[in-house]
Symmetry: C2
Amino acid sequence: MLELPVLGLLKERSMHGYELRKQLGAMLGPFYQVSWGSLYPALRRLAKAGAVEKLAEPAPPRRSGKGARKGGARDATLTSGRRRTVYRVTDTGEQMFTQMLEETAAVDAEHFTLRLAFFRYLRPETRLTLLERRRAYLQEKLAQFKSNLLTYRERMDSYALSMQNHDMATTESDIAWIEELITQERAPEMPRPKTT
Amino acid sequence: MLELPVLGLLKERSMHGYELRKQLGAMLGPFYQVSWGSLYPALRRLAKAGAVEKLAEPAPPRRSGKGARKGGARDATLTSGRRRTVYRVTDTGEQMFTQMLEETAAVDAEHFTLRLAFFRYLRPETRLTLLERRRAYLQEKLAQFKSNLLTYRERMDSYALSMQNHDMATTESDIAWIEELITQERAPEMPRPKTT
DNA sequence: TTCGTCATGTAATGGGTTACATGATTAC
DNA sequence: GTAATCATGTAACCCATTACATGACGAA
């Protein structure tokens, strides 16, 4: 669901679709690239639900002379050069965003990542709850890896084995990271910006 | 696409759907859990394409053993539930499997994982090609992470930053793992099963 | 002039998720 | 006898991917 990150980004600042996509990549990392065919329909859904509204974009700085416009008889709603549709979040949208963000059922990688990206909008307790659920989920997966290996190790070839081991190591590293986040979350405000 | 792992597992041994699902989890790890609503339609698609055929399951021990089977050691492979539909790969299916497996465009995590699970069916050169493409893909992502950080670091909060750093570390670990696999692949057969 | 980027969309297609429905067998 | 597990499927919904289509602008 694109709705959550789209609302989250628009909440910070109104944007048009094209830029939105770039920001999504910047915020969620290069593995998370959305396609136009999913972004624009998502925006349309949000608009239909009253969560965002389209704005007439303020005219960008028209250097290079006013007479340069060919075919000036363009539709009046298109204020300038490239037609862009800027979207702004409505109050309804803000509510939707908060509600989505707080769904603590979000435990798998993608849902968790999406929430972490907007953690600052959550109350500290909700953050902790989410982190702990994520940790529990990862620990459960880790246990499944282990029992899996006990049962099937003999039947696996070296590739499968290597993969399982690597995935387990990754899961352990994920858990360690989450625990770090939990520790920081509980720590009573000790920014300590540089190593002493 | 479930087709690839389903064919791969059935290639090793004919099974019914329920068991197939368990084996999928065992082979691909606990993060890869398929639902019935995707497995059975996939089997139907494969059957329709002539890649698998349904077998009448050899009648399970209709021993009418009331009480006789109580707690008894039973056949490990065949205990019954109810009517089971066992699927077997056809020649067409074998060809499909090989063809799918060799598609080296498979570079993202899921496609790569799926192929790695059946690496033993690929020629060593194809394996290397796939590994190198995967490595290149990950290195590209890593570069994107870095340029991303250069551009946006100031605008990210500590959560986003932590996430990017963790994801980068994970990507680096993935690359190191792939490189290990590449090294092993190139090594001229030195099994060395135990530590000396 | 042509290419690359900016910018917005639509259409078809596929297939995964969830929920629903059913029924047999085993273990307690 | 009843709960859990085995076992197979269907149907509705959702929505992501892909490909297609358009067109303005800036720079080479």
